[in-house]
């Protein structure tokens, strides 16, 4: 079980309101990612759920029980911190066993669970080492191990991969996703990296300034962003947002078109432009094209083999059915 329900949750530090008032329903077994730019309140929201911060108002219900005033340990949640927060003076074994020791389990059960977690996370050979003798990825696994052994109702991850280098990050991302499928436990994952959000989530919660901008599956957010913020935040490279004539002719204040929904041609097309920068990724080539439509260059995805030079003239044609339209308040017109 791991159903978490937030009702009108509010958080303010003195006069500074971090989270104005927020409702959210997290279902059992879901992988939910809170994503948003730094300072959007996503970590605070996670800490409110964990019980590490007190709410200013509202209710947090975990599995039907009002947990608003419960201390962190009583919420049956396990948390993995950005800094791993391992106990430096304890061996890996003792680190993983710590929550079980606190729960006063008998030693046989503790050993069994620690061995099991170590096996899942490939930590068998490191159990007697100290955290200081481990690499970043291994420390991260120990932190996850410490969370797993508790068999919690839900896992909370606070930017767990941001201290790892890029290659390791991709590997750990997969490991965490696999772990989720294996354990089928609710996971709440905070990140500012929209790629992590897209690749791991069942449900993404996009936050800005403590407000939920949109909740949905990765593909929903990608194909039907509710507003300009979500449209600009989700997707890499970013959606091209164009205002002015091309927008008004389509009855919108701003239109958005993703790089892969622009057709590229060297001979003819709707919009003419000049290639400013070409980024060759091998499988794809991203072109940044200067056009008279817009101050910022438009980003276009082309085939990896697309023959192109800096300064070459190209023509872009948008796929009309894939154009997103936004009104003057930034909300999507459907």
């Amino acid at each position: 079980m791991g159903q978490i329900h937030l009702e009108k949750v509010r958080k303010a530090f003195g006069d500074v309101v971090i989270i104005p008032e927020l409702d959210l329903q997290i279902e059992d077994g879901e992988f939910v990612v809170f994503v948003g730019p730094s300072g959007c309140g996503k970590s605070t929201l996670l800490r409110l759920i964990a019980g590490l911060e007190d709410t200013t108002g509202g209710k947090i219900v975990i599995d039907g029980q009002d947990a608003t005033d419960l201390p962190p340990a009583k919420r049956r949640l396990a948390m993995v911190f950005q800094s791993y927060a391992l106990y430096p003076h304890m061996s890996v074994r003792k680190n993983i066993a710590f929550p079980l020791k606190m729960a006063k389990l008998d030693q046989g059960e503790i050993d069994k669970r620690v061995a099991n977690a170590a096996k899942i996370l490939n930590l068998d050979n490191y159990l007697d080492r100290r955290p200081g003798q481990l690499s970043g990825g291994q420390r991260q696994r120990v932190a996850i191990g410490r969370a797993i052994v508790r068999e919690p109702a839900a896992f909370l991850f606070d930017e767990p991969l941001s201290n790892l280098d890029a290659a390791l990050r991709v590997g750990m991302r997969l490991e965490i996703s696999e772990l989720h499928q294996r354990l089928e436990t609710t996971m709440i994952y905070v990140t500012h990296d929209q790629i992590e959000a897209m690749t791991m989530a069942d449900k993404i919660v996009v936050l800005r300034a403590g407000n939920i901008e949109q909740v949905g599956s990765p593909l929903e957010l990608y194909s039907q962003p509710r507003n300009l913020f979500v449209a600009g935040f989700i997707g890499s490279p970013k959606m091209n947002l164009i205002s002015g004539e091309p927008a008004s002719s389509r009855n919108a204040a701003t239109i958005g078109i993703r790089p892969e929904h622009l057709t590229l041609s060297t001979s003819e097309g709707a919009w003419k432009g000049k290639v400013k920068v070409a980024e060759h990724l091998g499988s794809d080539t991203f072109l940044h094209v200067d056009t008279p439509l817009h101050e910022e260059p438009l980003t276009v995805r082309a085939d990896g083999e697309f023959p192109v030079r800096h300064g070459a003239t190209v023509y872009l044609t948008p796929d009309e059915s894939k154009i997103h339209r936004f009104d003057d308040k930034g909300l999507a017109i459907r």
Binding site: M79, S83, A85, P88
Partner: protein
């Protein structure tokens, strides 16, 4: 990359460091030498350095005149007692200020420190009267309490700065893992802060060991520590420098030895690597 330092510069800094070290160490060395001289040699002009008739006579006289171990034991009781009491109060206080600071935390810390600026003699009469009324004069308990109160601000300050270095996330992890406040402090915070606590303990043991004002004012015989022991060799019999030096050496020897052996422990940090 290591910095490139010329040999001449290395020699220069080495000589300078030794010179400063010797300068600081000289009074102790001189006391040490004097303690083995006869009274006449001790006041000889020009002074003799090492070329004198070494004698243990002063130490023998001192031991026969007074019970060194009685005073030393009192010093041990007073310094350890006041430090231990200080830790019991200061660990929770420093914990609270380091990990749940409020707007006033800095003010509280400064206010505590400001009590150290009060001249001790300013509160001599009230404290003396309290001691008289409570029957605490010349008692170890009374002196432990006074020394504890004197050193408390320093203990809190030191622990506060050490605790500040410990990432709060580790304590939050302990809280998530189900540790009670007591377990959090005893099983997680304290072991991580051991080097800090150790140096705090050492410094405060030394401070209490050397504390002379209150120990001289509030004790006579029963609770008298080594400061009284030294003092007893200075005033009544005139200036017997050799015996005084021997008494001083005996008084500082234990703390010197403790300091010598613990310095490595103090410098060695706890294994890092739990964070980042």
């Amino acid at each position: 990359m290591a910095r490139n330092v010329s040999t001449g510069r290395k020699i220069g800094t080495t000589i300078l460091a030794w010179a400063v070290g010797l300068l600081i160490f000289f009074p102790i060395l001189w006391t040490f030498l004097t303690s083995f001289k006869t009274e006449l040699q001790a006041i000889a002009i020009p002074p003799v350095f090492v070329d004198f008739h070494w004698t243990l006579e002063n130490y023998e006289t001192i031991q026969s005149q007074s019970n060194y171990f009685h005073f030393m034991l009192n010093s041990v009781y007073l310094s350890l007692g006041s430090t231990l009491l200080g830790l019991i109060f200061a660990i929770p206080a420093a914990w609270a200020m380091a990990f749940s600071p409020t707007k006033r935390t800095k003010d509280v810390l400064l206010w505590m420190l400001s009590t150290k600026m009060l001249p001790a003699v300013g509160v001599l009469i009230p404290i003396y009267l309290l001691f008289v009324n409570f029957g605490l004069l010349d008692s170890r308990l009374g002196l432990i309490v006074v020394l504890f109160l004197i050193d408390l601000p320093i203990i809190v300050w030191m622990l506060y700065t050490y605790f500040k270095e410990i990432p709060g996330e580790i304590l939050e992890a302990a809280r998530m893992d189900g540790a009670t406040l007591r377990q959090e402090i005893i099983e997680v915070l304290t072991p991580m802060a051991v080097p800090g606590i150790a140096s705090t303990v050492l410094l405060n043991v030394i401070l209490s060991w050397n504390e002379a004002f209150w120990t001289l004012q509030l004790t006579t015989t029963q609770a008298a520590p080594l400061t009284q022991f030294i003092a007893s060799f200075s005033s009544p019999e005139g200036n017997f420098y050799a015996k005084l030096s021997a008494a001083s050496m005996l008084a500082i020897a234990p703390i010197l030895i403790v300091g010598w052996f613990s310095q490595k422990q103090l410098v060695r940090g706890l294994t890092f690597g739990a964070v980042k």
